[in-house]
């Protein structure tokens, strides 16, 4: 039995350490950054930007451990391509190539592997990148519970070329800027969770997993003054908004009625007791732009299939102290917090 008393911190990794919330932030700050300390890592951006002859190289990596491996709207393979491509794209880079590391569990049906690799190929084609190097390892089937077989883990790394003249960063965020999102939120997390929990929402709930580099290319090509982009994955849009607030020391005001959310997703979130703002997306990007350019950004989004449901959801304000606040549908106000870890579906 663990010797840890409540209220005294952790001496082992728990699942919530991987939830993308406060607990993970603390793990990174306290256990990863100090021994590895360097300026580029400390920036904790989606990708590192490295000087390169003739421009800048953008470099990122991500690992994928989702269960189930296949879910409505996607699978771990599509996720592994889209996630890494998106981490490059939101930095303002054009993705160039990916690596693919596969960790296969003993017993994985080859037919499943074939489907997932085909999905990787399809997503890579869609994103216009190639998988140019890879590695494969096999591990023993997890000892113990029959359910512990996870089958397959993926790591992808990606490199991209930084676009010239693009200036993205939280330091550019200013009072009056607008906040946009490219479509309905919370669909990936809810689709995966509903499969996992055996709750079917008339199978209309599908993951939004998609490579966003084409959409971001369209947006940046307008020349609009886009100041910051981030894909809202684990932690949902609440996590990204909290990042914007914390780094810019400006308040963020979001209008609930303007946040795109399908009726099915709203009901599913209610049923699971989850706040849609904190549920993961895999094809949604939060954009901060100068207010005067909001329409240009929206028009560019709506001209792309991945941005049809785009909306202006809020703005940066000078209210003090800096907080993320939601103006609710009924006209009330509440604070939006970064989720602290894995969100647990409620009991009843």
């Amino acid at each position: 039995m663990t010797s840890v008393k409540p209220g005294l911190g952790h001496d082992r990794i728990v699942i919530a350490h991987g939830g993308g919330g406060e607990l993970m932030g603390r793990l990174i700050r306290e256990h990863l950054l100090p021994p590895l300390r360097n300026e580029r890592l400390a920036a904790l951006t989606d990708s590192a930007v490295l000087p390169w002859p003739g421009g800048e190289l953008v470099f990122t990596t991500d690992s994928y451990v989702v269960t189930p491996l296949e879910f409505p709207g996607g699978d771990i393979g599509r996720l592994a391509v889209a996630g890494t491509v998106n981490d490059l794209a939101v930095m303002g880079a054009e993705p160039v190539a990916l690596s693919l590391g596969l960790i296969l569990e003993e017993g994985l049906p080859l037919a499943v592997l074939d489907r997932i690799v085909a999905s990787i190929a399809g997503a890579a084609r869609e994103a216009g990148v190639e998988v140019v190097t890879g590695d494969t390892k096999v591990i023993e089937r997890g000892a113990g519970a029959a359910d512990s077989a996870r089958g397959l883990f993926i790591n992808t790394a990606g490199v991209g070329r930084m676009r010239r003249g693009v200036q993205l960063g939280l330091r550019r965020v200013a009072v009056g800027d607008v906040i946009l999102v490219n479509g309905p939120i919370a669909e990936h997390g809810l689709a995966v969770m509903s499969v996992r929990s055996g709750i079917e929402f008339e199978s209309t709930l599908r993951s939004d997993v998609a490579p966003l580099n084409g959409l971001i290319r369209d947006i940046l090509a307008t020349g609009a003054d886009v100041k910051f982009l981030r894909d809202a994955t684990r932690g949902g849009i609440a996590g990204v908004l909290a990042d914007i607030c914390a780094a810019s020391q400006r308040s963020v005001e979001i209008v609930e009625a303007h946040v795109p959310l399908s009726t099915t997703a709203r009901h599913a979130a209610e049923m699971l007791g989850l706040d849609p703002l904190t549920v993961a997306n895999e094809g949604k990007c939060i954009m901060v732009a100068a207010a005067g350019d909001a329409e240009r950004v929206l028009a560019a989004c709506r001209g792309n299939p991945l941005g049809r449901g785009a909306a202006l959801i809020g703005r940066i304000t000078d209210a003090a102290p800096p907080l993320v606040e939601l103006i609710t549908r009924v006209g009330g106000r509440r604070v939006v917090q970064r989720p602290y870890g894995e969100e647990l579906p409620r009991i009843c």
Binding site: I15, R26, V330
Partner: protein, 383 residues
């Protein structure tokens, strides 16, 4: 703002103004607590209408001795413990199920009792214990699952019975009499099962209005309006503003399941002690599925944390911000009390939606900026 809700809010302000004095009502259910914060309703309420949270979060009221028993069972070689996810972080005396799982214990999150039974079928060589937690909402599913286990002779399945009943807890609060309450906003989910008439004792014996409401903003405000109208008129009746979903008599099939499989018994509640006739135990016919009996385990005692005021929070005596541990020693990363663990816990709701503390006054958190003079965010370093 939705016009209908705006109009109801206006009426609510009008009635509360007419009453003049402070009106204190308890929302019994954790789902109401969270909905009232999440929808921003709290920030729209009249200053003299105070909402206090009740003992209606199943995670929060589960006695520490039950968590300790779950930890003890999950720590035994070969045993698999199946639990609803939000029980994972609830602290017992020696840690939580989440931490125990990190040390190698087989703790599996399930979303229904039925799934726990499936786990038992898939692992016939291993004892599978389901942590049976919740009110009348989840208890019928546990009952149905026990019947199924009995029918199919899934003998490696058992239940650690922690199921509780809502109305006896409401009565116990009124009997104790140390929280002034003008009425109850009764939980929609539970009422679907037990029916609105189940609250009659509160009305008859304690002369307090009970209004059953749903969870949409309009339904909640309508419920509060019905409550304060009764207060204004000096009435005490059971009123159902969730018609079509909640009936007078409840769900007969579910109630029959409960009667068939369980008997009502005294039960320990976290921080509240043993409340007479407030819990469910397996009847003799199904007692072989009782985990305590099967593993010859006796419940211990609860040992409260010296700082934790969860007991006062779930009985409406204290607001989370009045607890010295709130957002300092106790936060969702390192919860001391269960109210900080559950997504429906009062402290977690305050932490998540209301961590802008007013500097006193009525102490009613409003969920927005600058409610009350000197509104202040808990400093980052304290978290």
């Amino acid at each position: 703002m939705s016009d209908r809700v705006a109009q109801l809010v206006d009426e609510l302000h009008g009635v509360c103004r007419d009453v003049g004095r402070r009106i204190q009502v308890m929302e019994v259910c954790g789902t109401h607590t969270v909905a009232i914060f999440r929808t921003g309703i709290r920030s729209l309420l009249p200053a003299n209408l105070r909402l206090v949270s009740g003992p209606g979060c199943p995670v929060c009221v589960t006695a520490q001795r039950h968590i300790d028993a779950a930890l003890e069972l999950a720590g035994r070689p070969g045993v698999m413990l199946a639990t609803y996810g939000d029980m994972l972080r609830v602290p017992g005396r020696s840690g939580s199920l989440e931490r125990l799982r990190a040390t190698g214990a087989q703790v599996q999150v399930v979303n229904s009792a039925r799934t726990a039974l499936d786990v038992a079928r898939a692992n016939p060589q291993r004892p599978v214990v389901f942590l049976g937690v919740g009110f009348e909402t989840t208890a019928p599913a546990t009952a149905a699952t026990v019947l199924e286990a009995d029918r199919d002779r899934v003998e490696n399945f058992s239940v650690l019975m922690c199921h509780k009943l809502v109305v006896p807890a409401m009565q116990a609060l009124l009997d104790a009499g140390d929280v002034p309450l003008d009425g109850f906003l009764a939980p929609g989910h539970v009422s679907v099962i037990i029916g609105a008439q189940a609250y009659q004792p509160i009305v008859v014996k304690h002369r307090r209005p009970v209004v059953v409401a749903g969870f949409e903003p309009e339904q909640i405000v309508r419920g509060l309006l019905a409550l304060v109208r009764q207060v204004a008129e000096g009435r005490a009746a059971v009123e159902n503003v969730y018609p079509g979903v909640v009936t007078a008599d409840g769900n007969r099939v579910a109630l029959e399941l409960l009667r068939r499989v369980f008997v009502v018994a005294d039960a320990p509640w976290r921080e509240l002690g043993v409340i007479p006739q407030s819990g469910l135990e397996l009847t003799a016919a199904y007692r072989r599925f009782d985990a305590l009996q099967r593993f010859e385990l006796a419940l211990g005692e609860d040992e409260g944390h010296p700082l934790c005021r969860c007991g006062e929070v779930i009985t409406g005596k204290a607001e989370p911000s009045e607890c010295p541990a709130f957002a300092t020693a106790c936060d969702p990363l390192n919860p001391i009390g269960p109210c900080m663990v559950s997504s429906e816990g009062t402290c977690a709701a305050w932490y998540k939606y209301n961590r802008v503390q007013g500097s006193g006054g009525g102490g009613q958190g409003a969920g927005g900026r600058g409610q009350g003079p000197g509104a202040q965010r808990v400093p980052e370093g304290q978290r």
